[in-house]
């Protein structure tokens, strides 16, 4: 079902494109040797290059180039062996040079494709227009002083990748799924930490609306949205605003807007009136960036397995459903944990336990996959006890909880508490006989056709055996004795 917004004049389609700014993981900045580490004392990670001192020249960081290429490869995009830097001119207090070194005409990465998955399982491809390298600006703070804004240039000059999508996105859900997918890919690649709270990933959202079948109408750009949820809200709020403008006979003006999460609305940023007059020109301090094909091939050969490929491989190697595999590859650490447990074991059993009891325990205890509630080795040992029928599935849940609580190994818990599964048919038969004898009225009801009582008898037998009976054997014995 296509997403449509209902206006007074009928249904409207939403058209969205995203520009994602992703901070490159590197030791030092894009054009200077100052540290690219987040935070630090004010203006500590700043060199004369970053502060725009006269006569300072930029020298490009090889690793930042490699990171951009890796990301391009991860987006199945064309890598441009020739790219060039341009100056994007604008005046702002946290931009010491009065220009940002960016790539305008010749970006390092060209067109690519990203596949997103929606709630209902639909897969959709979103086109990537380009990815280019640029410098981040400094940080202005307006609440530290009554009459002044204060500026910290620690972030100024840190490398950013701007990832531009085609206007292929058609709903808030798709916008959210796309942003999450890009974040997942850069995290797998280790090219950006994807931390939206710290601002190392943020999005500019381009929104327009149209009647189905029409050409694109005028779009507005919502700047610097810093969470998946806000991107989704901003798309909807801005689309509603534009529909209202069109339907009341007005015209949407192309402009830069700001999303206000507390009010759930967008508003115009008048200060950015001149913002689109960037007067780009080639950066005279830098030669074109020319890459060898062998450099790209080498990076491609060492690229880690990406989430989509891993997901398909998990389905093939471990026989788990596509959906479950998607949950397990959500992040690399979870995928690695799963794989270390599932290897040589029943992949489906492992997946079920991870999506069920394991994640539940992780959330409940506030732990993480890096610091899991039970170790991969212990978790695997527990699954082995189920597989070799030492314990049944019901008891395994109790053992698991005990493991989470005490950190003890599953084997030790089973021995200590005497939880071994009873497979002795003599003992099971005796328990069944007793349960049937104690519930003769129910037996009579069963025999007169109340089939559902079968489960009751099994339950009573299991209870009498403190849950340790082998479920298959108990079932069989009950069936036999009821005749």
């Amino acid at each position: 079902m296509a997403y449509m917004l209902e206006g007074r004049t009928g249904a409207w389609e939403v058209v969205v494109g995203l520009e994602i700014h992703a901070q490159v993981i590197s030791e030092s900045k894009l054009f200077s040797g100052a540290s690219a580490t987040y935070g630090g004392a004010p203006n500590a990670h700043v060199s004369f290059v970053d502060a725009g001192f006269p006569g300072m020249l930029p020298v490009i960081n090889k690793e930042c180039v490699a990171q951009a290429v890796r990301t391009g490869l991860g987006l199945k995009a064309k890598i441009n062996l020739f790219s060039r830097f341009d100056r994007k001119n604008y005046f702002y207090a946290d931009l010491p040079n009065g220009y940002q070194i960016s790539q305008f005409e010749h970006p390092i990465v060209g067109t690519g494709i990203v596949e997103i998955e929606l709630q209902d399982g639909t897969l959709k491809q979103i086109g990537i227009t380009r990815l280019h390298l640029e410098q981040d600006a400094g940080k202005s703070m307006h609440d530290q002083h009554a009459s002044k804004s204060v500026i910290d240039l620690n972030r100024a000059g840190v490398a950013l990748m701007e990832i531009v999508s085609e206007p292929d996105i058609r709903s808030p859900e798709e916008a959210g799924a796309y942003l999450r997918k890009i974040r997942q890919i850069v995290r797998y690649l280790g090219t950006c930490d994807g931390n939206m709270e710290e601002g190392s990933m943020r999005a500019d959202v381009n929104v327009s609306v149209r009647k189905p079948g029409e050409e694109f109408r005028t779009r507005c750009e919502i700047k610097n949205v810093n969470s998946v949820r806000f991107v989704m809200h901003a798309v909807e709020a801005e689309a509603m605003r534009q529909i209202e403008v069109w339907e009341s006979g007005g015209e949407v003006v192309q402009e830069t807007r700001l999303y206000d999460p507390s009010k759930g609305e967008t508003r115009s940023m008048r200060s950015k009136e001149d913002a689109h007059d960037y007067r780009y020109f080639p950066e005279p301090d830098l030669l074109p960036l020319v890459l060898e094909q062998s450099f790209v091939d080498d990076l491609a050969a060492k690229l880690p397995e990406l989430p989509d490929e891993k997901r398909r491989r998990f389905c093939d190697d471990y026989g788990i459903p596509f959906y479950d595999a998607g949950v397990l590859v959500a992040d690399q650490a979870t995928a690695d944990f799963y794989e270390s447990v599932a290897k040589g074991r029943d992949g489906k059993l492992t997946a079920n336990w991870m999506s069920g009891d394991f994640f539940a325990a992780m959330n409940r205890t506030g732990k993480s996959i890096e610091n899991p509630p039970v170790s991969a080795a212990d978790f695997g040992a527990l699954l082995d006890l189920i597989t070799d029928k030492t314990i049944n599935g019901r008891i395994a849940k109790d053992v698991f909880e005990e493991m989470v609580e005490t950190g003890k190994a599953p084997g030790a818990i089973v021995e200590e508490k005497g939880l071994r599964q009873v497979t002795d048919t003599g003992a099971i038969d005796a328990a069944v006989t007793k349960v049937l004898a104690d519930n003769q009225d129910k037996v009579a009801e069963y025999k007169s056709g109340k089939d559902k009582l079968f489960g009751f008898f099994v339950g009573q037998v299991m209870k009498a055996m403190q849950g340790k009976g082998n479920p298959a054997l108990v079932n069989e014995a009950v069936k036999k004795q009821l005749g």
Partner: protein, 95 residues
């Protein structure tokens, strides 16, 4: 190509350079003279010639990713017209 007075004012505003009304006419003719001089290049036939990105046909020098600079906040702030502790301070700019 010829600049009008409004364009001169706009360029000045984008560059944050204050230009008095009395200066606009002078600047206009000076800028137009510069543009006219550069426009002589238009007479050269460049059909089929790739744009050149620099005079020197050499590769961009790249550096290794090491931290070799920074941690000089005092020096960076030394010429700041105004500061608040180790921040640069500017007139309040709020959206």
């Amino acid at each position: 190509m010829s600049l009008d007075a409004a364009t001169v004012r706009r360029i000045a505003r984008l560059a944050r350079i204050r230009v008095d009304d009395t200066e606009v006419e002078t600047l206009k003719s000076e800028l137009n003279a510069i543009l006219g001089y550069v426009e002589q290049l238009g007479e050269v036939n460049v059909d089929g010639i790739e744009p050149l990105s620099g005079g020197a046909q050499m590769a961009l020098r790249q550096r290794e990713d090491y931290v070799t600079d920074g941690e000089i906040a005092e020096k960076v702030l030394a010429n700041a017209p105004d500061r608040e502790q180790n921040f640069f301070a500017v007139p309040k700019v709020v959206e």
